[in-house]
Symmetry: C2
Subunit: 451 residues, 2 copies
């Protein structure tokens, strides 16, 4: 009986394991998970901290017991320490000592880890990262001690979402960001809208400021320090980003050290080894470059692709499914402000060699005369020579964020801004102006390209 070993029991790993269990029932499926949670929504952790979700159990899509009932040999508290690709074994550490398991097929789905730069007192009590349920439990526990002042360091998705969560919990929140506007993966035109929304909710937003370290007393954090100032804190969220956990495989690495795979998630050069999820890099369809995008949506898709490919290697019929790259779509919100992006920003487009034009437009989430219409701002970028759309970003009221899906599919299919203007998007007064917001933007881009 062939044995699949999966390293990592969250989205990518358990999607792969479940697919193999279903498609190749004769295979033995072993999953090594270093923690004690499986198949949970890491993306939901900020909303649990905010109090929107009652318990961490709500975030678990399928429990360890459910996976075991389906015949998966799930080993919790089992941290893989080495992969021997010649001997086809994985070594792993448990509370009871070192173990080893042999594999015929191996899936590496080790995820990502939070970056913790080497700054004074970053290991003090009260400084938290936000990556998994364990982090979430620690912060929920910290909130029971009634902290008054929180400082969020970094304003990527996690920083923005934790700022929202801690505002919801009634804390005084300061956000320290080294860029000129929050959420640096959007352009300043959108960043200013986010900054206004954060300040309107009482957040003290400090931009253009590099954190130099932390003050601590008795091993507990008391302030966040920048070159120019310091910000008192009972609770600190260190949201410096994440990097792939890719050390187990000695293979070609891409951005941030992510494992390079082919479209079936196989690791080139290694026989019978796949990798998926936050530990890999994936192809940006617009530039062809490999990027690291640790998002649940990609992890689930790559896990499915991996599982189907593993099952096919064991004799099951293959669906033909491959992971076809990304256009860097992402969405989040800060309180009532929805924020989304797809495609390239200005710097990335220029770095990829495009000669670009940009445009931004202000419109409304429904027909301007319809009650409840809220402002929305769109920013876009296009390639001068081909007139292809390269990127769209949006911030606005209810309904603004999901507009990005139209842009994402236009980018996916390589539409020019001219064709996008003429596509058949939905219109009725409660939902849209008669020219859909993405098309209003596309018209501005077309005009800018012709000017």
């Amino acid at each position: 009986m062939p044995r699949l070993v999966v390293i990592g029991g969250d989205a990518a790993g358990m999607s792969a394991a479940s697919a193999v269990r279903r498609l190749a029932p004769e295979a033995e499926v072993v999953v090594l998970e270093r923690g004690h949670d499986t198949s949970y929504s890491a993306c939901g952790v900020p909303y649990w901290i905010a109090g929107d979700i009652d318990s961490d159990g709500d975030l678990v899509a399928r429990s360890a017991a459910e996976h075991r009932e389906r015949g998966i040999d799930l080993r919790l508290g089992a941290e893989a320490t080495a992969v021997d690709v010649a001997a086809r074994t994985v070594s792993y550490r448990t509370d009871d000592g070192e173990r080893e398991v042999a594999w015929d097929r191996l899936v590496v789905a080790t995820g990502a880890r939070s970056v913790l730069p080497d700054l004074p007192n970053i290991d003090a009590g009260g400084v938290h990262t936000v990556k998994d349920l364990v982090d979430g439990r620690r912060i929920i526990e910290a909130l029971t001690h009634a902290p008054q002042r929180a400082v969020v360091v970094g304003s990527g998705y996690i920083g923005i979402e934790l700022a929202e969560a801690l505002v919801a919990r009634g804390l005084e929140v300061t956000v320290v960001e080294q860029s000129a506007t929050p959420l640096p993966i959007v352009e300043d035109e959108i960043g200013h809208v986010i900054a206004d929304a954060m300040r309107a909710k009482g957040v003290q937003l400090v931009t253009g400021a590099q954190v130099t370290g932390f003050s601590a007393e008795d091993g507990r954090v008391t302030a966040v320090r920048t070159a120019a100032d310091q910000y008192p804190a009972d609770l600190v969220i260190a949201a410096f980003g994440v990097v792939p956990r890719s050390e187990l495989l000695d293979v070609e690495k891409g951005a941030k050290g992510g494992i390079v795979t082919d479209a079936q998630q196989r690791v080139p050069g290694l026989e019978d080894v796949w990798a998926a999820g936050d530990c890999v890099v994936t192809k940006d369809r617009l530039t062809g470059e490999l990027v690291h995008l640790p998002l649940g949506t990609h992890a689930n898709k790559q896990g499915l692709v991996t599982g189907e490919s593993v099952a096919a290697s064991l004799g099951a019929a293959w669906s033909g499914r491959e992971f076809q790259g990304v256009v860097q779509t992402a969405i989040t919100k800060f309180c009532d402000l929805e924020i989304a992006r797809a495609g390239l920003g200005r710097a990335a487009a220029q770095a990829a060699g495009f000669e670009v034009v940009t445009a931004s437009v202000d419109t409304t989430t429904s027909a301007g005369y319809y009650p409840g219409a809220e402002p929305m701002t769109l920013w876009g970028i296009a390639d001068r020579s081909s007139r292809r759309l390269l990127g769209v970003q949006v911030a606005g009221g209810s309904g603004a964020g999901l507009r990005i899906d139209a842009a994402a599919l236009a980018l996916w299919s390589g539409l020019t801004v001219d064709e996008l203007v003429m596509t058949d998007l939905a219109y009725a007064p409660p939902f849209s102006s008669v020219w859909s917001p993405v098309q209003v933007l596309a018209r501005s881009l077309a005009k800018a390209l012709t000017a």
Copy 2:
């Protein structure tokens, strides 16, 4: 100085007139409008009747005075009665008698008219169509007489939207529909969801019933009659649909008598004549067939294309913009239920020769664990041999409707269901399950195609 004459002063006509005014400033632009309103949102009329919008003025994007200030010779109360394409004249009727105007370029944007079948007492007082601001004013006036019971005949978009409006106004509302479920341009799977929502709001929904006529006393309607029953009414909305006003041109006609045009909205066989908006037919991109889709979004786009083409014929630089057909995207709502469709229904797909599979799925508007997640139902159809997506329909809570844009662009670009599963759509717990709803549907279709 060349003269453009535009027949019709709403979305398509005024878009064309404005574009010519802007791009070919030397041209004389004359617009003949049989009514007294210009550039208004016909789609907004139901929401005005509902009381969501204060005044008809809110629905006017640009007034007659504003158009005139921009140099358009706008003639209101001027109903075109004949076009002489050889002599290049239009005859029109005014309160002051018959007139004639010569043209060098002609744009026919005469719109559509409400269908009124030849049924007993259909011309009784209290029986209203809903097409334009004049209709809206009549209904608003009728509501001042405190009608108690309204019957809406037909449950297309207008029927659904008027049922909502009259519920909002506190009337007892009955809807009589000849099909088995409301909104016959969606499949029964979605129609049942709509039916439940209508009944939950107290609407008496009568399906499978053909209206045979109206009862009247002293010239005022008192009831709507079907073969089996009758429904007392102080107010009747006759929503039998619309047909193109295309009689002025003796040229090739398509579905429902709509004028056939090329992609620049020129009328084949007639020199220097264009047609745009609700009076034309347009190409469905999936079947290649000509369909009549009287929607403001198409009228605006076709008007722009027309104006740019006319201006180019007068020597202006041409943008290259053409109207590239439709995928029959549409969106509406009934109270809190959002409803949308794109592509083909089952019957249309079969009639076009596709061998089809269908699927439907129930999901939620955000991650299931996220507070406020509401149910949504999707239905889809795909072609067995090519595995191409052919159509998607959706009904659900807040945010469900605009999901159709992702489907519309997938249909626009001819994506297979397999590729759609792998596209990069937005995910975060407040907005979506980790597989976007359209992708959940696409996975079901892919599975059905493989079975």
